[in-house]
């Protein structure tokens, strides 16, 4: 566990030395800020505040920026050759994979934390000004939405790490991750293209959106959704570890 922490800390620190991480944080704040502003303008005075609204688009943005965060994790080390010293250090391959994943997830959590500013704005508006038509912010769905998006992000990052383990080319790793995330996202709409209801349902069960948009985002914590995300994370990290181990046998 000690080495997991060391690896995770280095990865997290690495994000702060690379421009990509700042650009991602910047882009996410601009996009969610704009989205929040539109939502706010529409709601004030007519609809109850919805703190989770901004997280609906955050999930979509994640499809774009998660690959940017994960693509270099292992691909860069393999290409640069730094992997040789890492793999000859007394550290289990699984610890390296887990550490790198946790570093990325921690950074994701920090970016996610930036969006708490919108919740603070909601709270400030609804408690200080007390519009007659605007009830106070319902914190329940906000909390579940954050829990959901956090798990959702973990799953996308774990998949990204897996693709980063598979290739030495960062661009390919990023592109493959993004493609797969999109397919998993669009799986939610399987019903409109697949005739068989059972098949559509099966595809939908595998999609990322189905386990988030209709449950966590609207204030429902379903056991199966949490299991789905944790399962994706576990499976992806397991396969990534095997892939890393297989490097030794090539």
């Amino acid at each position: 566990m000690h080495s997991v922490r060391v690896v995770a800390r280095r990865e997290l620190a690495q994000y702060f030395t690379s421009p990509i991480a700042y650009l991602v944080a910047f882009a996410v704040l601009v996009l969610t800020g704009w989205q929040f502003n539109v939502d706010l303008a529409q709601r004030v005075g007519s609809q109850p505040p919805d703190g989770a609204a901004v997280l609906g688009s955050f999930a979509f943005f994640t499809l774009f920026f998660a690959p940017l965060l994960t693509m270099r994790l292992l691909a860069e080390e393999a290409r640069e050759g730094t992997l040789e010293l890492l793999l000859t250090a007394p550290v289990r391959d699984g610890d390296i994979v887990l550490g790198k994943f946790l570093g990325a997830w921690l950074y994701y959590t920090l970016i996610l934390g930036l969006t708490l500013v919108y919740q603070a704005i909601w709270l400030a508006i609804t408690t200080a000004r007390a519009y007659a038509l605007t009830p106070e912010l319902d914190l329940g769905p906000v909390i579940t939405a954050y829990l959901g998006i956090w798990l959702f992000g973990g799953a996308t990052l774990a998949l990204g790490l897996l693709f980063s383990a598979l290739t030495e080319n960062q661009v390919i790793a990023g592109f493959l991750t993004m493609s797969v995330l999109f397919i998993l996202w669009l799986g939610d709409y399987a019903g409109s293209v697949v005739q068989s209801r059972a098949l559509a349902q099966a595809i939908r069960e595998l999609s990322l959106q189905a386990h988030y948009a209709t449950s966590f985002l609207v204030g429902v914590i379903r056991f199966e959704d949490a299991v789905f995300f944790i399962g994706v994370i576990t499976a992806a990290l397991f396969v990534a570890t095997r892939v890393l181990e297989s490097r030794r046998w090539r």
Partner: protein, 317 residues
Amino acid sequence: MIDVDRLTKRYGRFIALDSISFRADSGEIVGFLGPNGAGKTTTMRVLTGYMPPTEGTARIAGFDVLTDSLAVRERVGYLPETVRLYREMTVRGYLKFMGQLRGVDRLGARLDEVLDLVGLRERARRLVSSLSKGMQQRLGLAQAILHDPPVLILDEPTIGLDPHQVQELRALIRELGRTRTVLLSTHILTEAEQICDRVIIIDRGRIVAEDTPANLREGLARSSRLYVRVGVARDDVAGLLASVPGVTGVGPAADGFLLTSAPQAGDVRPAVASAIVGQGWPLLELRPWATTLEEIFLELTARLDAPVSDDGEARHA
């Protein structure tokens, strides 16, 4: 400390290591000598737990590289052939990371110590990417000795260093080798002569010779080679020299000839001298041909199939 037994490594059908065996004890500096692609790096990568062997076993301090990989990796300091470090980290930050990974005690003090040892103390806060190749090499070495390992595996440690640093590093390796086992690869022969207690010459995945540098030299010197310079330029000089009893080969060398003689023939110098003088030719020079490790190396790793090989490098050798 290092115990390699019939180690074989195949990449697909290509045999990189063909059943090599050797030992290296504590306090011993063993040099791995061989042309490019001979299997030096492969051996080192197996010993450091980077890749598993196809067959055979390798043990370090009694731990098998395959089944006790972590225990082996704890006890080995490794400097890879091309030192690749995290470029965006600071010198000290990088060493700290490696030290933490290896769980080094009293890391702060140890970092200062090692940085002093490799002469990077004043660059501790600089980024790795700003270091010259030689400095990165030294940082790589710092990383290898950080946890004070009993076994050091150094893949071409002096490459990319200036002559000054090379001397310093060799002295450092000799110093480190006093209490540790050091396995280093090189293709600089004087380096092997200078710092190694024992030399293993490896070629195309096989060990072709293994001895102290002095013994290797002597071994070849025993098949006594003589350098002869004769004061006339005649075509029949070579023929005459070849006809001297005991001489098994005549070849051109510098301005004269290089004679090889069978070991059992004893000293052939009197016979050679009298043969030349008997013809009335002036004998300018007759002396034993000092064998360098370089020659031994070339001889042992000679490419017999060189003319038919399509590998340009082989033909040069």
